[in-house]
Amino acid sequence: MEKLNTVEGIVAPMDRPNVDTDAIIPKQFLKSIKRSGFGPNLFDEWRYLDHGEPGTDNSGRPLNPDFVLNQPRYAGANILIARENFGCGSSREHAPWALLDYGFRVVIAPSYADIFFNNCFKNGILPIVLPVKDVDTIFNEIAETEGYQLRVDLASQTISKPNDDKIQFEVDEFRKHCLINGLDDIAMTLEHVDDIKAYEQRRAQQAPWLFN
């Protein structure tokens, strides 16, 4: 997993609540057995005017000019700001893979669906929860300012605005540690092999039918 410390860049606004993982990456792209290459199909059904299938050359497809990521002012965005319950629906990790492959390292929203939120951290994406009023303000500032950028610093848990205003955000200590150091969860769990084995021995006595 790629380390995440500071992210600075253009912020793209996704101005609708309950953006689900089917919208983030439509199901036809889940047939892949790889975890890369989903970026060109991020938000596929909103982003293009035609229907996309895996293996299609996306460069020649007609773009939906109204879709936010197709507007030149948001080209190269690496921070996404969204509304309530972002990432609801399926558990597909293809959703954070697609966001990451497109170039997003930070998402900001008032709330997320649990599984998506969890999946982000495991893929080097920082999902930040901010109060609705702060999110509203950023949406308004983006609308007013072409090329609007934010600077997110994970170590100090601070978002810096172009006018130097700062917003503090909360993040779980363990997840922060993993993101900053790019740590693999499995290797960390395997440091507790003895605990797992002891648990299994104990549990097999209490509930032997689970070990048959």
Partner: protein
Amino acid sequence: MAKTLYDKLWEPHVVRDNGDGTCLLYIDRHLVHEVTSPQAFEGLRLAGRKPWRVDTNLATPDHNVPTTDREKGISDPVARLQVETLEENCRDFNITEFTMDDIRQGIVHVISPEQGATLPGMTLVCGDSHTSTHGALGALAFGIGTSEVEHVLATQCLVQKKSKAMLVKVEGEIPDAVTGKDIILAIIEKIGTAGGTGYAIEFAGKAIRDLSIEGRMTLCNMAIEAGARAGMVAVDDKTIDYVKGRPYAPSVNMWEQAVADWQSLVSDNDATFDKVIELDVEQMQPMVTWGTSPEMVTSIDSVVPAAKSFADTVKQEGVSAALKYMGLKENTAIEDIQLDKVFIGSCTNSRIEDLRAAAAVAKGRKVADNIKLAMVVPGSGLVKQQAEQEGLDKIFIEAGFEWREPGCSMCLAMNADKLEPGERCASTSNRNFEGRQGQGGRTHLVSPAMAAAAAVKGHFVDVRKL
């Protein structure tokens, strides 16, 4: 201290407390399918790791499999590669798989309870959000992403933070034609699709106890549509009767010990919950969704709501966008909505009781002329076999339904079963998101009997009026 059912499921599975709010939680059962596992197996190989406990894994292809002409194999090469990759991974790592030609193949959330591979008191995970289904048997079951699939394979554990506990109490006598599906849709209407975020939901009350185990599976299946990763129902005699005699159930010499353990899997009387929601089932009607989120739902005797009837502006905009996508006008009677297709199936509603309920409506009737396709997709090969033994297939076929092979099918339209742009479908599945059943497709979620009634009328109708 008094404990909730959730406490009683969580605590015996804690391997270690990490001291930072997370625990290492032991996983008793891991279900594997073709879509969310290939990258996990690849990760295992790259790291030179092996599955920690092979016997806890059970695999089957379901999302991508065709529901017709099985003997011809899978024509879509991308889908075929994914299913073949699952076979290869299961073979290489010695994991039991019910392949496409096995009668036990089907939707993971149907086959695991059917086999007795889901047991009360278990922790069960799968790379699929509808894993909440298994909570119906008094298990702690939740969906995970692919990184966690790899984590479970490699360590038999997950790093988890305990959720808050919510009690949803549904009291009263269940009215005729109201099902587990209608109850969960009514709950989602009340608390919203994010109402359960951060919670594990226990469903309780007389109406829940009165549901069959399959009805409880439908209920728990859609806990995730209320935002909760896990839904659960306390163990009672129905639970134990359901499990008894199934292939993966405890053997005779351990049965009494297991049952004694399972009988404790109920919330203590004085247990406290972080949140309690109460509903009265007696006022409920069959439910129909009208929008692009499961919370956009109303009863069959109602109308499509007006955007301005909602309080906040973000919600109003969401409703306007949904009605535009759905091609619906405000204040249209739900019964006046004309349909193009009908889908009976999915991990929500493809079990034998669902098929019986739909067949009871279809019997002696014909699918309406305006319905281009009405299809019934059993949840597993064994459900299909049972239905055929009962003659349900003949009832459906005579009425003009197509009788298909088991799989996820048009719930998410990864295979050939999908809606064309603008087509409107009465579906027994779980998600009415934009494009879920095919790009531009319009989904209305209903119970199996209501879907069958819609098929024979060509529009929604209260099944009690037929």
